[in-house]
């Protein structure tokens, strides 16, 4: 379990780093964003909210940086991320709370799907090296070089329109009230088809290539030759021997790459006006809604860390060497 403990320590460290970055960035912002907000919303803001914003932005110049940092951490510990400027007077947490399920649903699912599909195809492509399958590589390379958002634009042009069944934007039809009824879920699914397809198509290539290269590398290992010498069926050698080993670096790479992947997928939300965290972030940026920006960044980091944790669990289940006793 040493491996496990080390990973958890690493997550805590990363979380701390993200929080600290979050602490310093607003302190670099020129001017005083809170003042202008207060000026705008004269009299509408209660003193508690102003205090929390002051902590967030370090506006209380009488405090030392260290004590500012402590109050900041204390505030975070209470789950207070400030209030959103744009969605005034809604607190950032509730804005994020309504956006997060959409992002988790869309990006979480598609990332995992893309990984699974890419890895599966990669197993196949690596095993069948030297056949027609190699011809697919340039195609998938091209597809994965296309920016997500541009593919989204193309998808909107090609598949949506007045008479199309597929909607071009949003997470559900404007008339509907979100809820756990079949009609709404169906509607939401219909809205997610295009963005999901966009993400999957443009990210499958990377996983495919990684897995294919690992399969090719592993295929030359002695234990694969032994497996052939044992007269095992091609299928068994491919799955139980080659793919099983080739998967390990892919899984650990999956966790590491999430930080990159998630950033790219945000733009898909933007293109499709999908009501997730990514859209919130971009809107917040254009509206200079600093508390929300910070909140989004923190949330995303936590989500990526959580996903990393899952990938680690998977890795530990797959590699007996991490389960080392003693």
């Amino acid at each position: 379990m040493k491996y496990f403990a080390g990973r958890v320590g690493f997550y805590l460290l990363t979380l701390w780093a993200a929080i600290t970055i979050n602490f310093f960035i607003p302190r670099l912002i020129p001017g005083n964003p809170v003042d202008s907000l207060i000026a705008q919303r004269r009299g509408e803001i209660d003193s508690n909210a102003i205090k929390s914003l002051d902590i967030l932005f370090g506006l209380d110049k009488h405090q030392s940086l260290l004590s500012q940092y402590w109050s900041y951490l204390g505030q975070l510990a209470h789950g207070d991320l400030g209030i959103s400027f744009q969605n005034f007077p809604e607190p950032v947490t509730s804005v994020l709370g309504s956006a997060l399920p959409w992002t988790l649903g869309l990006i979480g699912t598609t990332t995992i799907l893309a990984f699974l599909i890419g890895t599966l195809l990669g197993v196949f492509a690596g095993w069948k090296r030297g056949t027609w399958v190699d011809g697919l590589l340039p195609v998938t390379t091209f597809l994965s070089s296309i920016p997500y958002f541009w593919l989204g634009l193309i998808a909107v042009t090609l598949f949506t329109g007045v008479d199309s069944w597929l909607p071009s934007s949003g997470g559900y039809d404007p008339g509907l009230v979100p809820g756990w009824d079949l009609g709404f879920i169906g509607n939401a699914l219909r809205h997610s088809i295009l963005p999901a397809a966009t993400i999957i198509i443009s990210s499958v290539g990377g996983w495919l290539l990684a897995m294919r290269n690992m399969m090719v590398t592993v295929s030359a290992e002695d234990y694969i030759t032994v497996a052939h010498a044992k007269g095992l069926s091609d299928r068994r050698v491919m799955t139980k021997y080659a793919a099983r080993n080739a998967l390990l670096p892919s899984v650990s790479g999956f966790g590491m790459a999430l930080g990159l992947v998630v950033g790219g997928t945000f733009l898909v939300e933007y293109v499709f006006s999908y009501p997730g965290v990514g859209l919130q972030l971009l809107n917040a940026i254009s509206g200079h809604d600093y508390p929300l920006i910070q909140g989004v960044f923190l949330t995303v980091t936590v989500a990526v860390l959580a996903a990393n944790f899952l990938a680690d669990l998977a890795y530990m289940a797959l590699d007996p060497r991490t389960r080392k006793e003693g």
Partner: protein, 310 residues
């Protein structure tokens, strides 16, 4: 790691040619552009024609010129950020790999933290804070955040090189530490440095375009993302002006593909098992085709002879 210089394969050649074209455009794009990319004209929202190869915008700007002129910014940010990130990656990766003990561990942990923290949101936030961020500033920000992956690869490789006998032999000979790192280890990392450089360039290009697309970066210079930003902003999709966003997107994809193709070649240097070993199918004496594969060595001419067989 042996270096056998061989002619690059078809894939790598295609990649290099594409990259050369884009590099050429980066230098001479503005000179070649038929129009001033920002100049308005009366040809509003025209589809591609002999006069405007890629059509025009809602205020009559020539999109072909925008693409040509925009190449420079894309390539500049890509390569400048790539160089910056690679330099940081080499310094951090190689030192943390060569240093033993907690110092190396600490530096490596820092780079892992940088990998896991979602990069794009961070870059978006930072560039947003910097006032009037131009290409330089954006490249700096991308370079300073995009080094971690390369550092991780280089650290792993340095760790394994450090244990190699030739490094130990140089040490035992009394070679100074900086010479060991600079002269004995670094040349052995060339392929990985090149590969991580190309990877970072790709990342930087994509990031810059994404920033321009969402309107975060300054609007001072044309680049492909800028073109897409206007296309998106003016509802190019809704009005069916496909020419507005197709060329820019294709250029991005082509540039990305060219870099990926070059990286294929580098991967084959780093990992010899990925080399295609020339032909993968052989023709046997009786004219059948046999594939070279693990576990079943092809037989070209089994002797037709003497007993046995079937």
């Amino acid at each position: 790691m042996k270096f056998h210089f061989r002619l690059p394969g078809v894939k790598v050649m295609v990649g290099l040619v594409l990259l050369a074209v884009f590099t050429f455009l980066a230098f001479f794009g503005s000179a070649l552009a038929p129009y001033d990319p920002s100049a308005r004209s009366n040809d509003i929202l025209q589809s591609p024609s002999a006069k405007h190869w890629f059509g025009t915008t809602h205020i009559g700007q020539d999109i072909f010129s925008q693409i040509l002129v925009g190449t420079r910014s894309v390539m500049f940010v890509g390569f400048f950020a790539g160089i910056l990130a690679t330099v940081i990656a080499v310094v951090i990766g190689v030192t943390s790999g060569y240093l033993s003990g907690w110092a190396g561990e600490a530096v490596s942990t820092v780079s892992n933290v940088f990998i896991v923290i979602p990069a794009l949101p961070l870059i978006v936030i930072v560039t947003n804070v910097i006032p009037n961020s131009g290409d330089w500033a954006i490249a700096m920000v991308i370079g300073c955040t995009g080094w971690a992956w390369g550092a991780r690869l280089l650290r792993a490789q340095t760790l394994s090189l450090r244990q190699r006998d030739f490094v130990q032999a140089a040490r035992a000979n009394g070679e100074s530490t900086w010479r060991i790192v600079g002269v004995e280890i670094l040349p052995n990392l060339t392929a990985i440095i090149a590969s991580s450089f190309i990877g970072t360039v790709m990342f930087a290009v994509m990031t810059e375009i994404a920033l321009a697309f969402v309107g975060v970066s300054g609007i001072s210079q044309w680049n492909w993302g800028e073109v897409l930003f206007w296309a998106q902003g003016q509802q190019a999709l809704a009005i069916g002006a496909w020419w507005w966003f197709v060329p820019a997107g294709l250029c991005i994809a082509l540039l990305g593909t060219s870099l990926a193709l070059i990286n294929f070649g580098i991967d084959e240097i780093v990992n010899p098992r990925l080399r295609g070993a020339g032909r993968t199918t052989v023709r046997t004496a009786d004219g059948r085709k046999a594939r070279m594969r693990f576990g079943f060595t092809p037989v070209l001419t089994p002797s037709a002879d003497e007993g046995g067989g079937r």
